[in-house]
Every structure is written in structure tokens, then in C-alpha cells.
């Protein structure tokens, strides 16, 4: 178990994701479409805690979220792969911590998640043009919120587990 996941309360913060998905605060929606809270939580977690922890957290989160929704669409493949990818990026130099980089990664992640859901819809024969609107709106609102929310989480996680990369957090320039 990674150093971050060893602290139980840090894992408990993942419970905020289903709570926010259900509460769907209207102020944080773009044209009625909420951001992908899973991406906004998973990105800093995986960057700070590595690929294995990221993939496991992504899969666990996806299973919880899939349980909240009727229908056969699943976020598990996309979130698992995103957790793995972001975990690997977090292990590489240079350190990813700039707001723009976090926004870009969240944008790519939300677009990949949306594309995977759209492909599943098409596969099941229920794909519609409205999915493109949902994909674009969710990608935009997720990327807009990511610099603010993800950088704060990343700061917290890296302070809690400074040894993960063998060096301490440098200030965001």
C-alpha cells in the first residue's frame, strides 16, 4: 500500500465524489451538465500516489459511481486507465504541478471518459447527437475547475507523502 493510501482519512475523501455527483450543485454546471467529479479527485491522487494506487482508486471510484446510475454504461475502463496513466506521469520528471498542466490533464481525462461513455452508447445502439454536447460541456467545465481544485488537492497530498518521489514539493511558479 502506498504511503498516501495508508492514511485512512485520505481515502475517505473519495466519498466526496459520489456525494457531489448526487448533489449535482447547479452553480457548478455548464448548460445543465455537471463536471466529472471523479476526474477532479483522481487526477491529483494518482499524480501524488503512483500508477498502481491511481488505477485501483479509479476502478474503485468507478464501481461506486456505476452503482449510482441505472443503465449499463460504465466508467470503470476509462477511470482505471486514467489513474494508471496519471500515476506514471506523476513518477516522471519534471514534476507536474502547474495549474495549466493540471487543467490540460483534466481536459484530456474528461474527454477520454466522455468518449468511452459515448462509445459504449454507440455500441449498445443508443448513441445520440446529444452525447457530443454532454461530452464537450463536461470536458470544458471539468477543465475549468481543475486548476483550482486539483492544485489544492495535489498540494495537500504531496505534503502528506513527500517521500513518494524522493523529493519535496517545489512551490508553484
Amino acid at each position: 500500500m502506498s504511503s498516501l493510501a495508508r492514511r485512512r482519512w485520505t481515502l475517505a475523501t473519495a466519498l466526496l465524489v459520489p456525494v457531489l455527483a448526487l448533489a449535482a450543485p447547479a452553480a457548478l454546471q455548464l448548460d445543465g451538465v455537471p463536471p466529472s467529479w471523479a476526474v477532479l479527485w483522481l487526477l491529483p491522487w494518482a499524480l501524488a500516489d503512483g500508477p498502481l494506487s491511481g488505477a485501483a482508486a479509479g476502478l474503485a471510484l468507478a464501481l461506486v459511481l456505476d452503482g449510482l446510475h441505472p443503465g449499463p454504461l460504465s466508467q470503470a475502463p476509462a477511470l482505471g486507465l486514467l489513474g494508471w496513466w496519471w500515476g506514471r506521469l506523476g513518477r516522471q520528471a519534471p514534476l507536474i504541478q502547474r495549474s495549466f498542466n493540471l487543467g490540460l490533464l483534466a481536459l484530456l481525462g474528461a474527454a477520454a471518459l466522455g468518449a468511452s461513455l459515448w462509445l459504449q452508447q454507440i455500441w449498445q445502439g443508443v448513441g445520440t447527437a446529444a452525447a457530443l454536447h454532454t461530452l464537450l460541456a463536461q470536458t470544458l467545465i471539468t477543465a475549468l475547475l481543475a486548476p483550482m481544485l486539483c492544485s489544492l488537492q495535489l498540494l495537500l497530498w504531496r505534503r502528506l507523502s513527500p517521500g513518494n518521489r524522493g523529493r519535496t514539493l517545489q512551490a508553484d511558479r
Binding site: 454546471q29 451538465v33 448513441g127 447527437a129 452525447a131
Partner: protein, 231 residues
Amino acid sequence: MAWPWLALLAVFGAVRLSKGAAVIDAYALLSRPFWPGTAQSDWLRSAQDLDRQVRLQQLEADNRRLRGLLELDRAAGSAVRGAPVISRQAGGWWQQLVIGRGALQGVRSGDAVLAPGGLLGRVASVTPTTATVLLLTDSSSRIGVWVGRVRHHGLLVGVGTSRPVLRFIERDVGARPGDLVTTSPASTLLPPNLTIGVIQRVNEQAVPAPEAVVQLSAPVHAVDWVQVRRP
């Protein structure tokens, strides 16, 4: 000295030719304090509403009696339960509500969920204290509906937007914008004769059968309480 009399005659002539306009306008001016006020139209409107409510109650009672004779009703499940909306996801990949009544309160999977205005969707899953409602707009929602004016069945298919698509089964249905869409009068999966919406646009060229875009009548963004009804 006949000119004053001639002038008076001219005045009377003018009154005659103007069909008494000046006289009527003067009368209107004098009688203005005694004109019927807006209160009168309110009384009439409330009387009309009362009349409609009474007729509606009588028709519903009549309808229940006739359905009972036809054995279409199943009395055990006809209870209506109110439920608060505790989560609303009307946009995005899933279009669903979570309501604060579940299996412990007698809500079952497949129950119809109504709001003021008409049908919202069906219960997709229940927990002991909550139920998830699949809205008619969700892309996995499919229910059979009835267009009363042209007496044709169709399949209401959610497409992820706020307006689902009505796919007819036969060609030449003759539906047109403004037609009312309801649940089937003989439906056993859903309560019969529930208002769903109004046809907004018809595509007669669709293959294999015509399609119509339906504007739903229940405002999903505005409801905080819904009714759960067993068919």
C-alpha cells in the same frame, strides 16, 4: 331668424350620421364609475374552474367504474405516494432523479413517477429508503405511448435531450404538432391516460415509420416533490 333652428337640426343630423357617437361616449364617461370591474371576470373564471373540477371528478369516477367493469384496474396497486426529490441529474450522461422513498414505503421497481403536469419517468431501482427514477429523456428510456387524436401507438425513446422522440409503428399516422401524447388507455405497465407531453414537430420522411419530437409537459427542473403511482 331660422338659423338657430337650422343649426340645431344640423347637430341632430350629425348625431344621426355618427350613429350617436357623441351620446354614447358621453354615456360611457358618465357611467364609468359603475362599470363591471375585474372582480367580475375573476368570479366568472373561478366559477368556470369549479365547473371543470366537478366535471373532471365526475368523469374520473365514471372512468374508474367503467375500467372496473372491464377489469383493467388492479385495485391493490393503485395507491399514490408522495416523495421528495433528493438528487436531480437532468443533464449529462445519466438523466435520473433520486427520491426519498424506497422499498420500506412500498415503492417498487417499474412504478410510474409523476409531477404536476404529467409523467416524469419510471422507477429503475430501489433501496430501502430511496428510489432511482429513470427520466423519459434518458437515452436508455423506452416506453409505449398513445396519441389519442389519431388513435395510434408509438414508442417514446429518450435521446439525451429535453425532448424525447416518438417513433410510430405504422406509416401514415396523420399526427401533427399539437397532438397530445399520453400513456395508453389500456396500459398495464404504466397507469393509463397519464399526460406525457405534446408533439412539437413531425418528421413524416423518417424510415421505417414517421417520428415526432415531443415536448414533455412535466417540468423536471422545477419539481421538488413527485408522486409515485403503481400501474
